[in-house]
């Protein structure tokens, strides 16, 4: 089981979220869009690469990005469901 803390640390490292700590990312904060963390479409591709490289989980359907990447919680749930 991947822990929330681990996932947040990996997101911060791989997406180069400078000066952010895991405490700065709320579990239910939207990852995309200006009202949340503010990731963009290039980040969504980087996320797919990160999830594969760090957790061995592949996401092949780009239409599923919106659901899987909605929040850190939804991403964690998805990863743990695949493992």
């Amino acid at each position: 089981m991947v822990q929330m803390q681990t996932l947040k640390e990996i997101l911060i490292k791989n997406l180069k979220l400078e000066d952010m700590t895991p405490e700065d990312i709320d579990d239910t904060m939207p990852l995309f869009g200006e009202n949340g963390l503010g990731l963009d479409s290039v980040d969504s591709i980087e996320l797919v690469l990160t999830v594969d490289k760090e957790f061995g989980v592949k996401i092949s359907d780009s239409k599923a990005y919106e659901t899987i990447f909605a929040t850190v919680q939804s991403l964690l749930d998805f990863i743990n469901a695949q493992k």
């Binding site: 963009d40 479409s41 290039v42 591709i45 780009s62």
Partner: protein, 369 residues
Amino acid sequence: MPKNSVFINAFESVCCAGESSEALFEAICAHQSGIKTFDEFIPNKPIALGKIEKSFSIEALLELTCKKVLAKSLLENFESTLLVVGSSVGGMQTTENIFLRDHHYANIDPKLHAIDAIAHLLSQHFTFKDDISFSTACTSSANALGYAHEMITKGVYENVLVVGFDTLSLTTIRGFDALGVLSSHACKPFDVSRDGMNVAEGIAVLLLQNKPCKESIELLGVGYSSDAHHMAHPSPDGAGALCAMQKALECAHVQPSEVGYINAHGTGTQANDESEACAIELLFGANASVSSTKSITGHTLGASGALEAIICVLALQKQIIPPNTNLVEPENKTLHFAHETKAQPFRYALSNSLAFGGNNTALLFGLPQ
């Protein structure tokens, strides 16, 4: 300051759809795409690319194409000519071959790696008065043409040779794949079902001079702008492209209603074609015939500006509107897309090039005034 006129007096090109510019134009008019599927570039993933059929050395192709242009011109040599190069990868293919073989940089010659490699190789075969190279991703050779235009209009040079050149490289192929914008078949610019672009290679060489000769076409206007939006996505409303097109027309004192043909950047990606169509619609409505020729040539990246300039020049010389290929159902319902090759009198042709970083360049060509 008096403004000289700028004439395109000789040109030649090589790309996947034709070993010469004439062959290319015939292929466009006959809907004969040069794009093919390859599976050796990305493991387990066939992709469609515009690869020049005959294998070539970069140096030999540069020399041969420039020699052909020289032979078509009235110049004896290029000694009074400025060389302006536009390229986005320069010598990257050479660097990749060496690095992937050796796994270190020690055998890489910096002079053959960077953008300047092209001017450097050409200087082994020709003497130019001076040279300068532009590298702005997909607008590289459009910007080279713009610079050539300015050097002549301002009376600095009488002769400028523009070379647009990009080879295929793993960097660009895998890079565009990483962005998720490659198609596995020949692209469908402006179509509702379009699913991406085709990376391609090509060389396009044009001689620009301040005096006309038989069959000259004039480069009348250049427009530049920056989107200031995102590195890899155009601004969705096409505002940057609109601005560049407007400036090119203003530069030439030509009204949108006078433009007969627009050679769009039209890469076949969702983002580019939607925003570019928006911009063209705002400025031209259904007045001009619009086509993208990238379904035939692929996207030759830094060479595309010069290659598509040649297509516009030939279209004007022959008074033929080049058609779209693979356009079945246009997403934009307003624009007048050319579906078939059509002989039609027209005076002006506009060519768009839109690049990473939001760099936009529009070039206006016309029958001599």
